[in-house]
């Protein structure tokens, strides 16, 4: 079972997200990017909808039902999606864990 029960720190979540992003978009493309918590999801990481879906699936596989990442995304309006950055995702996961 992949689902974890121990709480992850922000840094651990960040590294995990970075790992997922690398798996989704390919190491070669990640090397050209400087991924930080400020990286915007769609603009800096240039993720398209297919990539976002496979990123969401990785989150689901890892955290199980405790995190409804897709549901969270679909509740956003356009500006929220445009401004969404990695830090916000980390905070969301952190909140869901507590």
């Amino acid at each position: 079972m992949d689902t974890i029960t121990t709480k992850l720190s922000r840094e651990e979540i960040f590294n995990l997200m970075k790992k997922f992003i690398t798996e989704v978009i390919g190491e070669e493309f990640v090397e050209e990017m400087d991924i930080t918590p400020e990286s915007s999801f769609t603009k800096d990481l240039e993720m398209d909808s297919i990539e976002i879906v496979s990123f969401s699936e990785k989150i689901k596989a890892h955290f199980g039902d405790q995190i409804d990442f897709t549901g969270w995304l679909s509740s956003m309006d356009l500006d929220q999606l445009i401004n969404l950055n990695l830090g916000m995702i980390i905070s969301y996961i952190e909140e869901c864990q507590s």
């Binding site: 978009i25 493309f29 769609t42 603009k43 398209d48 297919i50 509740s75 356009l78 929220q80």
Partner: protein, 400 residues
């Protein structure tokens, strides 16, 4: 005989199929005119047709139109949600606003029996609704590009609805119904199978690709005839000016000196020199060229997609922005090609994928299946039949 007015946006990919159906309607003796907010070169128009470009009425908007057209070049660097804003809020809605008055004036004067609006050119359907004129919509791309936002992204759905209802109020339509498209007849230029529709609304008719618009572009046929290696057609369409050089540089890196002939539709001036196995011209007679090709590489412009599968050819689609991703998904679903997103396009993958498409027959077979669905959809004949029946059964409402 009836009077048909096509209301079109300043994007050739959207105008192109209307020129083809317009040619068929003219040949049947109908009167056909087009209305747009940029001029259209006369060579593109079928004989007997007229393109109305109300230059004088548009003078106050000249700068705005220009800015909107330039803004389209930002598409490739925009994220998905930004493209949605760019398209609806910064392009379609302002275009409709700009078109409305000169279109109303022209319609009052010419009195068309049917207004046919392109799916992103809302002014046509709005004007028809205001004046009680029967209206039809043409959809050159597979519908449902934005997906089911009402259920999957309610806030985005609300944003779309509010923009459109706001536009309708501005032009004097105080209804909570959406009137930017015809509710009676929507002609879609692909097949239901390819578009991935299990069921369809009754007013939506998939007529497949249409053809027959004039295209007098010259081409070096002798050089093509001498080529002995597999021929791959490459097009980036008429938009996307900024990334043209970068795109074709990748092609050169992948295919210079390889046992393949690249036929590229782009302005040759972007490089001083092209490899010997590249045949490059600014304008090409695309429909005549396609039957001589073995595969196609394109970003997903819909007329090239239609020409490709009309000829049963496999495709490498490299989606960049807009509806390209939706089209890429449909191609992979149908198995008639491979999609590699432009931003993640590696030279080695580009080369290997094209050779895979040429060597593995499964892609060509799937492309031929799509061709069958296109032929069965009926094309020009079906479109004309639907339009003539529509004109016969629907009449301009007399003002109350």
């Amino acid at each position: 005989m009836s009077k048909f007015l096509f209301v079109v946006p300043p994007f050739f990919g959207h105008i192109s199929p209307t020129l083809s159906i317009g040619a068929s309607l003219l040949a049947r003796g109908h009167e056909v005119k087009w209305f747009g907010i940029t001029s259209l070169a006369k060579v593109h128009l079928p004989e007997g047709g007229e393109f109305i470009y109300p230059e004088e009425d548009l003078l106050p908007h000249a700068e705005e139109i220009d800015l909107i057209l330039k803004r389209q070049d930002d598409g490739p660097s925009c994220s998905g949600p930004e493209v949605m804003k760019l398209a609806l809020e910064e392009t379609y809605v302002p275009f409709a606003r700009i078109m409305m008055k000169p279109l109303n004036n022209f319609v009052d004067q010419w009195k068309p029996d049917v207004i046919v609006n392109d799916c992103i050119t809302f002014a046509g359907a709005l004007c028809a609704h205001l004046k009680g004129i029967p209206s039809v919509t043409t959809t050159p791309v597979p519908p449902d590009v934005m997906g089911d936002t009402a259920n999957s992204a309610p806030k985005i759905f609300e944003w779309q609805q509010n923009l459109i209802l706001g536009l309708q109020k501005e032009v004097g339509i105080y209804s909570d119904q959406i009137h930017i498209h015809s509710h009676q007849l929507n002609l879609v230029f692909t097949s239901q199978t390819f578009a991935g529709f299990k069921e369809k609304p009754p007013h939506m008719h998939f007529v497949g690709p249409v053809k027959g618009r004039p295209n007098l572009a010259a081409f070096d046929w002798d050089r093509l005839a001498k080529a002995t290696t597999p021929k791959v057609f490459v097009s980036l369409g008429t938009l996307l000016v900024d990334i043209r050089a970068a795109f074709f540089k990748k092609l050169i890196d992948a295919f210079a000196g390889e046992p393949i002939t690249i036929v590229a539709a782009t302005n040759p001036d972007i490089f001083e020199e092209w490899p010997d196995n590249f045949i490059v011209s600014g304008f090409v007679p695309q429909s005549e060229l396609m039957p001589h090709m073995d595969a196609v590489i394109c970003h997903g412009g819909f007329n090239t997609v239609n020409d490709t599968f009309t000829n049963g050819l496999p495709m490498l689609i490299t989606p960049i922005a807009y509806d390209h991703f939706h089209t890429a998904k449909l191609i992979e679903q149908a198995g008639c090609g491979v999609s590699i997103r432009y931003k993640r396009l590696r030279i080695a993958d580009l080369r290997n994928t094209v050779f895979e498409l040429l060597e593995n027959p499964k892609y060509r077979l799937a492309a031929q299946d799509i061709r069958e669905t296109f032929v069965a959809a009926g094309g020009n004949n079906k479109a004309v039949e639907l339009l003539e029946d529509f004109a016969k059964n629907n009449h301009v409402l007399e003002p109350a």
